[in-house]
């Protein structure tokens, strides 16, 4: 069955330190993967999609088919990165992981 796993419910990182939010998926085929972000009191919104191979707000995510992973990374955390992050997989509909709360410590 198609599935997205985010093993960390909460991740606390000091400002300036590297960030890695883990995402693993289960999918029979070529996956289309996304990261969504929800800042406090804002709408859930798309952060980046793997097909675009883009860097948004300093974040990147590389699809690793061998490890079935799509981890989200940023080399230097900023306080404004504190938010809820959801990894998502496109099937006939989008399947969301349970989310990881990223808390940037000053």
């Amino acid at each position: 069955a198609q599935r997205v796993t985010q093993p960390e419910k909460l991740l606390s990182v000091f400002k300036g330190a590297p960030v890695e939010l883990k995402c693993n998926y289960s999918y029979s085929g070529s996956p289309e993967l996304f990261w969504y972000v929800q800042y406090s009191r804002q709408r859930l919104q798309l952060l980046l999609r793997h097909i675009s191979r883009e860097s948004i707000k300093g974040f990147t995510a590389d699809l690793n088919k061998g490890e079935t992973s799509f981890h989200l990374k940023k080399p230097f955390a900023q306080e404004e990165d504190s938010a809820m992050y959801y990894c998502a997989l496109l099937d006939d509909k989008i399947i969301f992981g349970k989310g990881t709360r990223l808390h940037i410590l000053p």
């Binding site: 709408r43 859930l44 919104q45 999609r49 989008i94 989310g99």
Partner: protein, 115 residues
């Protein structure tokens, strides 16, 4: 401006009342979704629609019902609200014609409290 709208934003209601949460989008999207989310927690898909007259139940069993009579409108109804229905309800839409770039656009949410 193309957007997705939800009304009301906040609703406090007594047990047993019938309620309808409204969702409208002006993006011309064919797919629409309803999620239930406790603040800062995981999203649970409760209903989705691929177009007019199409409705499907999501992964989380819900006592709510939906309808899709018009492309832009996807209301959610609870016939008899209970305290267990207290949650945030998010509506979303996406363009099925651009599957590989399929981005879901989310509304601001309705925070429902049932007393």
């Amino acid at each position: 401006e193309a957007d997705i709208y939800q009304t009301p934003r906040y609703l406090v209601i007594g047990t047993g009342k019938k309620i309808t949460l409204e969702c409208s989008q002006t993006m011309g999207h064919d797919k629409m979704y309803w999620y239930q989310q406790d603040p800062g927690m995981e999203l649970h898909l409760i209903h989705y629609s691929y177009g007019v007259n199409s409705t499907e139940k999501g992964d989380l069993s819900s006592e709510s019902t939906v309808s899709r009579i018009r492309t832009e409108h996807f209301p959610l109804t609870l016939e008899s609200a209970r305290p267990s229905h207290t949650s945030q309800y998010l509506c979303a839409s996406s363009d099925a014609q651009r599957e590989r770039y399929n981005e879901q656009f989310f509304g601001p949410g309705t925070r429902l409290t049932v007393l």
